[in-house]
Amino acid sequence: MSTNKDNLQFRIITLALLMVAHLIAFSSPDTLVAHNYSISYSTFDTILIGSEPDYPPYCIVDEDGQPDGFSIELFMAAAKAAGLQVKIKIGIWEVIKNELADGKIDALPLVGRTPEREEIFGFTLPYLKLHGAVFVRKDTKDIHSLRDLTEKKLIIMKGDNADEYARRMNLSEDIINTNTFEEAFQMLANGEGDAVITQRVMGLRLLENMENNTIKPLDINLPDFRQDFCFAVKKGNQELLNQLNEGLSVVIANDTYQHIYFKWFGPAIKAELSTEDIVRVALFIFFPLVIIMVVLWVLVLRKEVKRRTRRLRNEITNHKNTWHELTLKQEKLAASEDQIRLLLDSTAEGIYGIDNKGDCTLINKSAIELLGYENDSEIIGKNMHILIHHTKADGSRYPIDDCAIYNSFIAGKRTHVDTEVLWRKDGSSFPVEYYSYPIQQDEQVVGAVITFWDISDKKRTEKELLKLTEELELTVEKRTAELNEKVLKLDKSQQAMLYMVEDLNRITAELKNERRKLELSNKELEAFTYSVSHDLRAPMRAINGFSNFLLEDYADKLDQEGRRYLDTIKKNAIKMDKLITDLLSLSRVTKADLVYTTVDMQQMAKRAFEDMATTNEKQEFIFEVKNLPSIKGDATLLTQVWQNLVGNALKYCSKASVKNVEITAKDAKDEIVYKINDSGAGFNEKYKDKLFGMFQRLHRDNEFEGTGVGLAIVKRIITRHGGRVWAEGEVGQGARFYFALPKQL
């Protein structure tokens, strides 16, 4: 409260004059304002505030138990100026402070602004600066500075600024908390403690009230306990805060503040300077003079008030600006702190900080998780080497004097280690890689930040790789041995191959020989068939011819029976010839090489009919050939096929009333199926397998003549072309012969 001494002179005079003014019942507009602060209920918003019973002269209760005091009165004035109705409840400081934090009350009229409280409260601009003091018993001799308090027992009201201050500054290990300062002074007086720390003016006032004169404040400067007192609201209740700030600005600007201040602090100062003397002097010595001066003074006063109002307004503006800047800075700081926290917590690596004793000062989420803890409170403040770094990977103790982290950062150096383990909360360990960086402040190492991560996977992979390499080497060795063995075997088999080649050459020579023999016998066979075709026929011709001569020349000498015999001889000779012809055909079909050309099947079928049918048959038969596709094949052999099949059809139709032969074809994917449909005698299906057999016949010779070779030849030719042949039929219902030839060779 820097203004106190500066304004002392001014205040003394002012107070004196005010008293005179009261005595002569002079009423100024300012004094009237002071009496208007009372609780009234109207349409205004009503807020509930808390107040203490005994924090004189700021918050007290009067004889009627009603709340009173400088802060109360000022709050009421500010609230009224802001258009607010106020209800007040009385409670001890610790209780009402918590009630505000919990939102059970809306505001407190007197709260010292501290960093701790800014976390939970919103503060108006300060309306009062108070200095703290150390109170001791008058007989205390050994306390001369704050340092001397370290070993002492301090008594402080719980939750007071002083309490927070003492703890923040770590003034002493031994602090006793009371509910009120009255209680604290009582205990001090009783020798239950060594010192009370509280706000100086309040302390003096309280001691006066208690009529205690065994306790005195010391002249020890408490630079960090210069408190800014403000109204406080719950943090975040910006609307109320704004209203109170506005109200406070108004009462400061319109001198109401000044008035209330005089009301509460005037008597205290007067008391120090002996009030009665001043009154006496005022009444009996200076009275006449004063009367004259009053008028002048009122004028001066008014001027002064105006000047001060202006100055105060400027100050308010300055305050507001400063306050705004501070808020902004604070927000920025909070945001950047949040960001850093977020950054730390979103990093996968574990990060912790230690002070120069090796105790943990900060730790991020990943680190907590990696180390198996639930939250940072389990770690903060603990010695990290003892907590997580106490034992080496091999299980031996790891003395802190050897600790790589500790040694390096004490030396102001960074270090990198990946051969150690860290220990989890549950007593298990994991291999770790970490970097430690020293933190320097003003060229002094104040701690270190350690970044670490679990390298179990890496270690495991390394191990596996090593194992794999070993296995690979083993495999390579084994394979090499196998290969050598195989090379040996190969050498052996090469030898065997050489023998085999020799054998093969020999066999090839033998085969060539055999082939030559075969060719030779084929030639012999050809000569044989050639001679058969000539020589076997000649006797047949002779038999037939000479039988004929006999019949012609000696007919008259033969009876009917003799002629029949000769006919039989002739017929058999002809049949024998036919048989020889067919056999020759068959042998030709078997041995001839196929000469493939595109064969006009339509033409060929028609030609076969022309060749095979007699003049009569050509007239009798309805012969139809419908769009037969051409195909690749041996023209000579296919001619034989058509001749045999058409010949067959003609033969077996010879006794039928309807003589009909129809030849068609069907394109069936990979092959063409040719069909010869006749209206002849047909055959019994159960014998169809015999149809194409050599010398197999389904009809007796006296029904239809034949050698049983024709269809066998057909089958052989079609088979040699890669085709198929089959037949369908029914006795008396005609027959259908099919042969299918492949489109591609």
């Binding site: 075709s533 000539h534 000649a538 011709r541 002779a542 011819g545």
Partner: protein, 148 residues
């Protein structure tokens, strides 16, 4: 020798039965022209070119037709055909191969050598008569040879 020179039909046939059948077939068809039957290829060529037993002939014989079997002793029918068709004097004489063989190769080679007709001897005598009638009718009566 006049007789020989007047030969109109030369039959080259080693099988006497076949020769007789052929003669009878001609006879049945009233083709009673002068017919000479020789029994092998050598004799056939001797006759045509006046060699061997026919060396006394002073002039190359030119029958109106030659009926030639293929399977012959000494010189076979195809060789005889080749000789005939390679000499200008005999080249124009129509040669009809009359054989039991239906071998494709025989037929092709015969035509390549310049045969005029190719007839397979039928076993059925009546068909034989028909065949002889047809060839005689054509080659002896209708076919006009240039006069040399």
């Amino acid at each position: 020798m006049d007789e020989i020179n007047q030969v109109e039909i030369l039959i080259v046939e080693d099988n006497p039965s076949d020769a007789e059948i052929a003669l009878r077939a001609f006879k049945k068809n009233k083709l009673t022209n002068k017919i000479l039957v020789v029994e092998d290829g050598e004799e056939a060529l001797d006759y045509l070119f006046c060699k061997g037993q026919y060396a006394t002939n002073n002039k190359v014989s030119r029958p109106k037709i030659i009926l030639l079997d293929l399977k012959l002793p000494k010189i076979n029918g195809l060789e005889v055909l080749k000789e005939i068709k390679s000499h200008p004097e005999t080249k124009i004489i129509p040669v009809i191969v009359l054989t039991s063989s239906k071998e494709e190769s025989d037929i092709i080679e015969s035509y390549q050598l310049g045969v005029n007709s190719y007839i397979v001897k039928p076993v059925d005598f009546e068909k034989f008569v028909e065949a002889v009638r047809d060839l005689g009718f054509y080659w002896l009566l209708l076919n006009q040879l240039p006069r040399l």
